[in-house]
């Protein structure tokens, strides 16, 4: 028998290591060490109810276990085989007691569709993909459906593009299908420029065949015999695995001519991008593949009408493609039964920032931010307070406490002033300054704007400078007005999605954290202590024992004071690095 004790950061904070020790002691005292092992595990992700103890093989799941409960667990459960009822988990909705983890709603929060094979199969072995139902969908589509019927499956599934825009995939395919042309193209957008997002990379590294299979299906539906994957050169491993997968698919005759003996031909080439964010925009991407400058152009014409080399082209994102084979295998109805009314299926998110379980997760649309952050994500690091979550990357916005219970889908996020984007989710705590966050994203956009339109090229730079003025403590209400007006102008007058959304991080932080902006301009203070020009490090005299730790660690030697005497910081020299604050063991340095 095994007793698993959660050793995640959350549970650790609630004395799980004492519990672990007590259980080990108890087992040893009863001379059971030979048969019973007590093991500490990584985070169960259920920190809200921690510490957690799980007993194997019977899968009993105890929550909120105190160190003192160790005796009872060993006495009752281990020796007498009786569950300790009071420690079992009670379903908050149904009020029923649940003893096994597999019956807990909590463990059903994640559902893997796009990531179904990632971490399960060997991505460099096509046989493993085939054993996991690979290429069956392509076979069925080619032998049993007309392109029109196959496109209808996509329309009925309700799948929407995962690259950011959320356009219905089936509808897009249908448009491309109906355009008459001797040559058409299928393009997979693997540019993934959104800072913090890495789901497309993970899919190509973990399950490249699912993208290949879906592109071939797409080719059949719209009448294209050629596919292109546009991938950034910074993804060497993804490129390598994709190449291996393409070779293997060709070797098996699953790419090439007369696939499945149906007369359908399809092959895929790889095109490399240099890692410019704007090249993820579909028209810029197409120009880049043609060997031109990666600059967006006006739509219409849409790529479906005139895309790569002027031919009808369907562009979809990696994650969008990864969903597709399953939709054919399990049916449009099945897919449409998952998610919310207008957003079907699941979404992969890259959880990052001040969160315990940084990683890739996949949840059905309609899951709330609270479930994602506090249950799956294991809550905020170091027990700090949640402040905001940034979704949609440089085009998105910050959502706050009041949005935590909003079900996540395309439309709800837009309504809350952010957007789905590609699925980056950056969690911020009380130590993050919202003016700095807005500045960080603008810095990115200024760098990445292609420079074609004046409002985007010059306007974003001006926005950045305004934010700089504010974070230096020189801002007034006039700057705040300018920020808002200029933001509106940039949104209205830019050509592509980059410029049209670049002020969103500014607008959403102003909407949600207006007070914080005011504190910066009126009180010349940064409440989170991030804006260097607005903070002061000072020695708290009562606490200072004169240990000299701060003085020894100050990189500019601006702390003076003798051993065992109160120290003093010379403000005119201090560069506000915070080293003294970090090193002082006596809480004798204050930040204000």
């Amino acid at each position: 028998m095994h007793l698993l004790v959660c050793g995640g950061t959350g549970c650790h904070a609630s004395a799980s290591n004492q519990l672990l020790e007590n259980l080990k002691q108890e087992v040893a005292d009863k001379d059971l060490a030979g048969e019973i092992q007590v093991i500490s595990t990584g985070c169960f992700g259920f920190c809200e109810k921690g510490p957690i103890v799980k007993i194997i093989p019977d899968n009993t799941f105890y929550t909120e276990v105190k160190p003192d409960d160790a005796t009872e667990i060993v006495q009752e459960h281990v020796i007498k085989g009786r569950q300790v009822k009071r420690l079992l988990y009670t379903d908050p909705v149904k009020k029923t007691v649940i003893s096994e983890s597999k019956d807990m709603g909590f463990y059903k929060k994640q559902l893997r569709i796009a990531l179904r094979n990632c971490g399960f199969i060997n991505p460099e072995d096509i046989d493993e993909y085939i054993a996991a139902d690979g290429y069956i969908a392509l076979g069925n589509v080619l032998t049993e459906m007309s392109p029109e019927e196959a496109t209808k499956v996509m329309i009925d599934s309700g799948l929407r593009g995962r690259g950011g825009g959320g356009f219905p995939t089936g509808v897009k395919w249908d448009i491309a299908r109906k355009v008459e042309s001797g040559q058409k193209y299928v393009v997979c957008n693997a540019d993934e420029g959104d800072p913090g997002a890495f789901m497309d990379r993970s899919i190509l590294e973990g399950d490249p065949h699912s993208v290949i299979e879906a592109m071939a299906i797409n080719g059949y539906c719209i009448g294209a015999d050629k596919g292109l994957v546009y991938i950034r050169a910074e993804y060497p491993l993804a490129i390598e695995r994709l190449k291996i997968a393409l070779d293997q698919a060709r070797e098996y005759g699953l790419l090439g001519e007369d696939i499945f003996g149906t007369g359908f031909n399809f092959d895929i080439e790889i095109r490399y991008g240099a890692g410019a964010f704007v090249c993820g925009e579909e028209t810029a991407l197409i120009h880049s593949m043609e060997g031109h400058r990666g600059e967006p152009t006006f739509k219409p014409p849409f790529p479906a009408q005139s895309g790569y080399l002027g031919k009808p082209t369907n562009v979809n994102n990696v994650e969008t493609f990864a969903n597709i084979p399953v939709i054919y295998n399990k049916g449009a109805k099945w897919f449409a039964s998952i998610g919310t009314e207008k957003s079907k299926g699941t979404k992969v998110f890259a959880l990052a920032g001040k969160i315990n379980n940084v990683g890739l997760i996949e949840v059905p649309m309609g899951t709330t931010l609270r479930e994602v952050i506090f249950e799956i994500g294991g809550g905020i690091k170091d027990g700090k307070k949640f402040k905001a979550v940034q979704t949609g990357g440089p085009s998105g916005g910050c959502l706050t406490e009041k949005h935590l219970d909003t079900p996540i889908d395309f439309d709800n996020l837009l309504e809350s002033g952010s957007m789905m984007g590609s699925g980056g989710m950056i969690v911020m705590d009380e130590d993050d300054c919202m003016v700095s966050v807005a500045r960080f994203y603008l810095d990115f956009t200024v760098e990445e704007s292609c420079g074609k339109c004046t409002p985007c090229r010059v306007g974003n730079k001006r926005l950045y400078e305004l934010l700089e003025v504010i974070s230096k403590g020189n801002g007034t209400h006039a700057e705040l007005d300018k920020l808002r007006n200029l933001s509106e102008v940039i949104k209205d007058t830019s050509l592509c999605g980059l410029g049209q959304t670049s002020p969103n991080p500014v607008l959403s932080t102003m909407d949600n954290f207006w007070d914080e902006y005011l504190t910066h301009i009126e009180d010349k203070r940064c409440p989170a202590g991030q804006c260097k020009d607005l903070i002061r490090y000072e020695v708290i005299e009562e606490n200072c024992v004169g240990c000299t730790a701060c003085a020894r660690n100050c990189p500019v030697n601006c702390i003076s004071g003798e051993r065992k005497e109160i120290h003093y910081i010379d403000q005119s020299l201090c560069i506000k690095c915070g080293a003294c604050f970090d090193k002082c063991k006596f809480n004798a340095i204050s930040v204000s």
Binding site: L4, I39, G119, N122, A238, Y252
Partner: protein, 132 residues
């Protein structure tokens, strides 16, 4: 390599491959084979998954453990990389996080050889679609 010429071909192949895999699991020897999967995506490799993979391939054979070591993609637990999944015959797979060479050694000696779980298990917290 045989070309897949028709859907029937593919289905036959799939069945063959699936039974190969379950054979691999059951194996001819009654004690069966151990399967070790190392998550080798960019995140895993960056945290040292390559060394861990080499350690497993090198040492399992040396220590006379009948095992296959394969690589796989990102399991999603990036905070706990490198991650390794170990499946003992007839048992549910177990995922270990923060695996370095030392931990790998412990996994071989304690878990694989003696069936004792060791510290550092990552609990699975998602559902997969059933394949049928």
């Amino acid at each position: 390599m045989a070309k897949v010429k028709s859907l029937a071909d593919l289905k036959k192949m799939k069945e063959q491959l699936q039974s190969d895999i379950s054979l691999r699991e059951k194996s001819e020897h009654p004690e069966g084979m151990v399967q070790v999967k190392v998550a080798m995506a960019t995140c895993g490799i960056a945290s040292g998954a390559k060394d861990v993979m080499e350690f497993f391939t090198g040492n399992l054979q040396k220590r006379n453990v009948d095992a296959i070591v394969t690589q796989t993609g990102c399991m999603g637990y990036c905070y706990a990389e490198p991650t390794v999944e170990v499946k003992l015959p007839g048992q549910d797979p177990v995922v270990y996080g923060f695996v370095d060479v030392k931990k790998a050694d412990e996994i071989i000696e304690k878990y694989i050889k003696q069936g004792e779980l060791v510290d550092g298990i990552i609990p699975v917290n998602y559902e997969t679609i059933d394949k049928k």
